[in-house]
Symmetry: C2
DNA sequence: TCAATCAATGAACAAACATTCAATGAATTA
DNA sequence: TAATTCATTGAATGTTTGTTCATTGATTGA
């Protein structure tokens, strides 16, 4: 790894971070290459020395996000309610301490639900479905009485919506006080 | 009211509805006049016979949204927990039955938190603060023991994030099952 | 030291965009 | 019916955008 390659990689990371912040606050179309270049202090032309296109830059961010904490809902041996408590706690604590993760969370939501993203990004994300595996865990909790009755998909929607909304607000507005993970988990908890 | 004026108003409403759907799924910059014109079957030039600019069209939507149900958090005589139950129920039932309201909900969130909106729209919304009046009601509920302990602002954030997230999913994806308002209210409820 | 490589810029380009406008034909009014 | 108003279009305009490229210095490797 030469010095030049090392600095190039460092510069790429700067661009990715600036792009992430801009994309989540201004959207894909609303963010220009000039915006991003300006944020890292370089000319617009130079951007294409680091990323082949705006689309590829966005794609690089989303690819990084796919390995993030939201997309690790796997079948678990844990007691279902414990799983949701731990998951909510883990995500909220990421969000509180690591602004990059909080912003990445918002980006993944945007990339998944907005139509203002390149087709190549959409293609990457169509397979990603968080509600089906979540609903499966919820069903298990309903069977042993720890999770309240109700449509498992609707319960999953309520749970993830709350987390997503909190992440979004905290990413944009870091000085807002963060809710407790327990409050979110109580959306699911049987009384 | 002549026949022509009547039809013009009807056409304006069609444009507003098409614009609303496009703006929430593609963002402000990502939505072109041609998109909207195409959706209502007219040429792009004709749009400017109905709205002076893209910005004014968006502004018209947001102005309509300001009188919507999210912005009616007023000091109330109701028991606080009852207030939140009623509020959640009212909003979710709007969202289930009236797609326009669900979409308007998403638009207001976008207009408030995105930087990809005209400055004139931002100016309209800076005064709009939902969390301060909500926190005041939460504090009252904590005093009489019906609402759980915790930072009232953080509790408000959790409550509205959940509602916002549900609205967004339902607006984009109408065949998703809708959560019960009670689950959302339980974010606040003391045990 | 010298040639080759690479970061960096700013000008140039084509496409897309919001917006304007002259022209047309239908609907309204007198 | 005649005159006027208005909805509608498509072409034209000026700006912005993503992207390319020739050029320039600096850095590297031999």
């Amino acid at each position: 790894m030469t010095i030049r390659e090392d600095q190039k990689e460092k510069r790429r990371q700067e661009i990715l971070f600036a792009g992430l912040s801009l994309f989540i606050s201004k959207g894909y179309s609303g963010t220009t290459i000039k915006d991003i270049a300006g944020a890292v202090g370089m000319s617009a032309g130079l951007m294409f020395h680091y990323f082949a296109s705006k689309e590829e830059l966005y794609l690089a961010l989303v690819s990084q996000g796919i390995e993030g904490p939201m997309n690790s809902v796997q079948p678990t041996e844990l007691e279902p309610m414990t799983f949701f408590e731990i998951t909510a706690e883990r995500i909220l604590s990421y969000i509180k301490t690591q602004p990059f993760v909080a912003k990445m969370f918002v980006l993944m939501h945007q990339a998944t639900y907005s139509d203002d993203v390149p087709a190549s990004v959409k293609a990457l994300l169509t397979k990603l479905d968080i509600h089906t595996p979540t609903a499966k865990i919820i069903r298990k909790g309903q069977e042993n009485g720890t999770i309240r009755a109700g449509d498992p998909l609707a319960l999953s929607l309520a749970f993830w919506s709350a987390i997503q909304g909190v992440a979004e607000t905290m990413a944009m507005n870091a000085d807002m006080p963060c809710p407790e993970s327990e409050w979110i988990a109580d959306i699911l908890r049987a009384k």
